[in-house]
C-alpha cells in the first residue's frame, strides 16, 4: 500500500524524522488559508500516488496566500500519469544548502534490507544510478541484526558531513530504519533529504510503501487507504480479495494465480486478441468470490467475451463451476463465456457445468483452444 507524501511524512515524524511544517488542502481556498497560516514562501504540492509530479507541473513554489490559491487551482484536478489530484500539501519554505537521496528497500536477491544513499539527491537519481553508480552508496542491513552503528557511520562518512549536521543525518538514518521495520515497509524513500542553510537535516519528500500482507498488524496505516483514489472496480475487487487491473482490450480474462492469468493474457494476445483486464481470483477462491470476479470483469462495457481459465490447486473446480453458474443466474450475464477448467476437482466442476450449461457458456479443453475461441467470439461482436 502506497502512502501519500503527507501521510508518509506523518509516519516519518512519528519516528523522529524532521520535516517541514505542512497543511493538507482540498480546495484553492483551503490552500490560501494554509499559506497564510504558514506565512512567507510556501510550496504547493500535488498529492498523488505516483512519481513524476514535479515534471508534470504538480509542484509550485509561491510567495503569497493568493498565489497559493492560484497554484492550488491549477494543480487540483490535474491528471498525473492517470492519477487525478484531489489534495495538495501546502508546505513552509526553507533555505536549502544541499540535496541528498536516502532510501531503504527490500533487496529480493540478497534477502536483506538495502540502504541507498547519495549526495546527489533530487529528481535525477535514477540517472545518477545509471551513469555514475559509485555516487550511490549501497549498504545491506541484516534483518536479524538490524542497523548497526558502523553502518550509520559509513553513510555519514559517505555524505562528507561533520558536527551537528553529521549527527542529524545519522539520527535520520537510524530513525528511517526504525520506521522501515516498525511499519513493515517495503520502501521508505526520502528524495531529497536536505541540509538546510542552518545545518538541519530535513525530509523534503517522502515515499512510503507498506507491505499489504502486514496491514493486519498496522491498523493505523490500513486506515489511511484512500478508497476514492482507486478505480471503483479495482477497489471492489480488493475488498473481496481479488487482484483486478483494467486494460484496454475486449476479451475479459479471469483465472487463478497471477502466473496463469499473465500467461492467459499472453496467449490471448498471441491469438490476435486484446485482453480487457487482468483478474486473478487467487488461491482457494470460493463460489462467492468467483461470482464477484465475473461481475467485476463484465461490468467493463468494452468486454465482448470472457475467458475463464482455471487450473485448480487450492482452488477447486466444483466451487468454480458453482460460482460461475450462480453469477450468471444472479446477474443475467449474456456475454459469451469460454470456460477452461482443469486440476483439482475439475472433473466435478465440468460435470456441474455439463448438467446446467447456460447457452452462452462454451467449454474448451485446452488453454490455447480456449483463448482462440474467446478471441473469435469477441471479434464476432459478443453480446
Amino acid at each position: 500500500m502506497d502512502l501519500y507524501e503527507h501521510q508518509g511524512k506523518e509516519l516519518l515524524r512519528q519516528y523522529g524524522i524532521e520535516t517541514l511544517e505542512g497543511i493538507v488542502a482540498s480546495s484553492p481556498e483551503e490552500a490560501r488559508e494554509a499559506a497564510e497560516k504558514l506565512g512567507g514562501t510556501v510550496a504547493v504540492k500535488a498529492q498523488v500516488l505516483t512519481g513524476g509530479r514535479g515534471k508534470a507541473g504538480g509542484i509550485k513554489v509561491v510567495k503569497s496566500p493568493d498565489e497559493a490559491r492560484e497554484a492550488a487551482e491549477a494543480i487540483l484536478g490535474m491528471d498525473i500519469r492517470g492519477h487525478t489530484v484531489r489534495r495538495v500539501l501546502v508546505e513552509a519554505g526553507v533555505a536549502i544548502a544541499s540535496e541528498m537521496y536516502l532510501s531503504i528497500t527490500v533487496d529480493r536477491g540478497a534477502k536483506k534490507a538495502l540502504i541507498l544513499f547519495s549526495t546527489e539527491g533530487g529528481v535525477d537519481i535514477e540517472e545518477v544510478a545509471e551513469h555514475n553508480p559509485d555516487a550511490i552508496a549501497r549498504l545491506h542491513v541484516d534483518p536479524l541484526v538490524g542497523l548497526l552503528p558502523y553502518q550509520v557511520r559509513e553513510i555519514v562518512f559517505a555524505a562528507g558531513l561533520e558536527g551537528d549536521t553529521a549527527k542529524g543525518l545519522g539520527r535520520t538514518l537510524t530513525n528511517l530504519y526504525r520506521a522501515f521495520e516498525g511499519s513493515d515497509a517495503s520502501l521508505v524513500e526520502i528524495n531529497p533529504l536536505v541540509v538546510t542553510e542552518d545545518g538541519r537535516v530535513l525530509a523534503l519528500d517522502a515515499k512510503v510503501t507498506v507491505d499489504n500482507s502486514s496491514l493486519y498488524r498496522h491498523e493505523d496505516i490500513a486506515e489511511l487507504h484512500d478508497v476514492e483514489a482507486a478505480d471503483p472496480q479495482e477497489q471492489r475487487a480488493l475488498e473481496v480479495g481479488l487482484q483486478y487491473v483494467k486494460l484496454n482490450g475486449d476479451v475479459g480474462i479471469l483465472g487463478n494465480g497471477a502466473g496463469l492469468v499473465m500467461s492467459t493474457l499472453d496467449v490471448v494476445a498471441q491469438a490476435g486478441g486484446e485482453p480487457a483486464n487482468f483478474c486473478d481470483v487467487g488461491g482457494g477462491a470460493d463460489a462467492e468470490q468467483i461470482s464477484t470476479a465475473l461481475d467485476i470483469v463484465t461490468s467493463n462495457e468494452q468486454v465482448k467475451s470472457v475467458l475463464f481459465n482455471i487450473f485448480g490447486g487450492i482452488t477447486r473446480g466444483d466451487e468454480v463451476a458453482r460460482g460461475l453458474l450462480s453469477a450468471i443466474e444472479r446477474t443475467g450475464i449474456d456475454l459469451p463465456i469460454v470456460v477452461r477448467l482443469d486440476g483439482t476437482n475439475a472433473e466435478e466442476g465440468r460435470q456441474i457445468l455439463a448438467e446446467n450449461t447456460p447457452k452462452n457458456v462454451h467449454t474448451e479443453e485446452t488453454m490455447l483452444g480456449a483463448a482462440e475461441r474467446a478471441v473469435e467470439l469477441a471479434r464476432n461482436g459478443g453480446r
Partner: protein, 291 residues
C-alpha cells in the same frame, strides 16, 4: 532419485485441522504420500483420517520420525510455524500460506542460513515427485513419473505446464513451486543445482514471471554451470505495467524486469525460451530428442 521429497519423505502437516489443511492432507494421502503427523496447538491427542495430531512440532517429529513439513497455518502465524519446523530438525519445509509479511520472511530467510534445512515458499504450491511423494497442493493426477525437473515462481502456471508435458507423454522427476513472494526460502538457482546433481533429471524447465531479476541470475548460473538442458518460459509479455513509487526499486533491479528483457537474457545464455505453455512442452520434447 528426485529432489527434495521422495519415498523416504515422512510428512508432517502444520495446521492440519484447518479448512485447507484437511482438504490437502486428504489429497496428499491419496497421492500415497507418507503423512505421519499433524500439528495443531491445543488439538494434540486427536487424529485426522488416521494421522495422529500433536500440540507441537518437536513432539510430533520425535514421536513419528517426520522429516518434512507442509504449512497451512494463517499468515500471522506462518513465520512462527516455519521456525518451529526448522528448530525441530525437519530438513524440508514447504510453506503454502499466502500473505506472509515480507519482514517476517526476511527474518526467516536469514535464520535459515544457520540451519541445514530447505524452505520452499511461502505462497507456493509445494513440491511433488510423481509416484513418490506429494508435499503440495498440486493436483496429483496431472503428473507422470519421468525425467523432467520443473521449477516455477507461479502455482497454477506450473500445473498448466506439467499438464502439457504429461499430455505429450513426457513425465517429471520433481516439480517445485518456489513461490512468487518478494522473499522466498529457495530461489531458482538452488533448485536448478539440485536438478543438475540429480541423475534422474534429464531436462529442467524454469517458469518465471515479470518482476525482480531472479530469472537473469538463474540464466547466468545455467550458462556457467549446467550440463542438463534447460527450457524456460516467462509469463507476462502483455501484463499491465506495475505502478511503482520512488526510485529505489528501479535502482536495485536496474530496470530489467519485463518479460521481453528476461526472455532475451535467457536466450543470450543459450536457454530455450518458450512464449507459451504449449511451446514449453514442444521445446522439452526437442531437448530430450523426442520431438
Amino acid at each position: 532419485m528426485a529432489i527434495l521429497v521422495d519415498d523416504g519423505t515422512r510428512l508432517l502437516v502444520q495446521g492440519i485441522t484447518g479448512r485447507e489443511g484437511r482438504f490437502h492432507t486428504g489429497r496428499m494421502i491419496e497421492s500415497e504420500t507418507k503423512v505421519v503427523a499433524g500439528v495443531t496447538p491445543g488439538k494434540g491427542g486427536g487424529d485426522f483420517e488416521g494421522v495422529p495430531i500433536f500440540d507441537t512440532v518437536h513432539e510430533a517429529a520425535r514421536e513419528t520420525g517426520a522429516n518434512a513439513s507442509v504449512i497451512f497455518v494463517p499468515p500471522p502465524f506462518a513465520a512462527d510455524a516455519i521456525f518451529e519446523s526448522l528448530d525441530s530438525g525437519l530438513s524440508t519445509v514447504c510453506c503454502i500460506t499466502e500473505g506472509v509479511p515480507v519482514h517476517d520472511m526476511l527474518k526467516v530467510s536469514d535464520y535459515i542460513k544457520m540451519t541445514e534445512a530447505t524452505l520452499i515458499g511461502p505462497n507456493c504450491p509445494g513440491v511433488l515427485s510423481p509416484g513418490k511423494s506429494n508435499v503440495s497442493i498440486m493436483p496429483g493426477d496431472i503428473f507422470l513419473p519421468g525425467n523432467v525437473g520443473v521449477v516455477s515462481r507461479s502455482g497454477t502456471l506450473t500445473y498448466q505446464v506439467v499438464n502439457e508435458l504429461t499430455q505429450r507423454g513426457i513425465g517429471q522427476s520433481t516439480a517445485v513451486g518456489i513461490g512468487g513472494d518478494p522473499i522466498i526460502g529457495t530461489d531458482f538457482i538452488e533448485i536448478l543445482k539440485k536438478f543438475e546433481a540429480d541423475p534422474e533429471t534429464g531436462c529442467a524447465v524454469m517458469i518465471g514471471e515479470i518482476g525482480g531479476n531472479a530469472e537473469q541470475l538463474a540464466a547466468e548460473y545455467v550458462q556457467r554451470e549446467m550440463q542438463t538442458p534447460v527450457v524456460a518460459y516467462i509469463a507476462g509479455f502483455t501484463a499491465p505495467e506495475g505502478k511503482t513509487m520512488g526510485h529505489a526499486g528501479a535502482i536495485v533491479s536496474g530496470g530489467e524486469s519485463t518479460a521481453e528483457a528476461k526472455s532475451e537474457a535467457l536466450r543470450r545464455a543459450g536457454i530455450r525460451a518458450a512464449t507459451n505453455p504449449s511451446e514449453v512442452a514442444e521445446l522439452v520434447a526437442e531437448a530430450l530428442g523426442k520431438a
